[in-house]
Subunit: 188 residues, 2 copies
């Protein structure tokens, strides 16, 4: 079975390919569908992903999935959440550290949602990685919020431990759930 | 001529009614069209307003306008901009003050855009109010960012001088431009 991953991000595509090839049963072939989409405004990753995959499916006309993710900081009511990419461009990690200045609760989580459209219905798969916001930026690997996110049970940021990130990240967990799901099994 | 103002905000509607009645030539009657819409993601107020009025027009089927506005802070690359309402809910004025802690450049502006759909084409009207972000919240009138916005040439925040706000605000200026425009003149 051929399925499309609708994304303009080559790194995301490579990561998905690796996880799904390793986990899925049967002959699933993942192809990149270059896709740029003006996402809806919603605090729900799943709502954003479901709307995006509807649009992607109307364009590629085959089984297709999209992935959306965000950083949710508890002391900031879930900010930057589904707007994480935009907030990173505007105020950066320095802005997040300023917003948390003096806050005792630095807990946060990364969440990812994959929405898959099989031509008839949409299924959603989630991955979440709990952690906290560091006191300062540390590390040079990864991208975005990786230098300020410390996963629970660890002392280094994602940007300091990219090998660990790739084994426990929200995106990895969502891809794993998707690749192990029934939607990729028992098909031609 | 009857035209609709598509908004769920009664205060915005009352303000528009007052300005347009005072300025427009001819018999223009403004009616509220209750409207709740999931806006597009864009850094351009005009793009957001144009898309929203397309949607409003498809629902009300008559001449209709929408108004969108935001606070743009120069040291924060225009943050919170078109996401001002959402950012206010998430981090509030306290968050904005934290983000500007230690910044020398506290300049900012409020901008409003009205998009009007006459059944054939869309016209856009803008209003802008330059100013700066206060060192702390002051005043109890108004709403949103009013307690931290000091208009240029003044020393009090909008929330301390609501009478002044109503004469110089971005929304007032956009409404004025709209009401004086040809689109509301020479019609039945």
């Amino acid at each position: 079975m051929d399925i499309f991953f609708a994304t303009s991000n080559k790194n995301k595509f490579a990561e998905a390919l690796e996880v799904i090839r390793g986990e899925a049963i049967g002959a699933v072939s993942i192809k990149q569908f270059p896709f740029s989409h003006n996402e809806i405004r919603s605090d729900s990753l799943e709502d954003v992903a479901r709307e995006a995959v509807e649009c992607a499916h109307s364009q590629c006309r085959g089984p297709v999935f999209v992935e959306d993710s965000g950083l949710f900081i508890n002391a900031l009511n879930g900010f930057p959440g589904t707007y994480s990419g935009w907030v990173q461009k505007k105020v950066g990690n320095r802005g997040i550290l300023k917003l948390l200045y003096g806050e005792k609760d630095r807990s946060a989580y990364f969440e990812a949602c994959i929405a898959y459209h099989d031509g008839k219905k949409i299924s959603a798969f989630h991955g979440r990685c709990e952690g906290s916001i560091a006191e300062r930026e540390e590390g040079t690997s990864g991208f975005g919020y990786d230098p300020i996110f410390i996963p629970a049970g660890h002392s280094l940021t994602f940007a300091q431990s990219i090998g660990l990130k790739n084994k426990i990240s929200h995106r990895y967990l969502a891809l794993l759930e998707f690749s192990k799901s029934n939607v990729l099994r028992h098909k031609d």
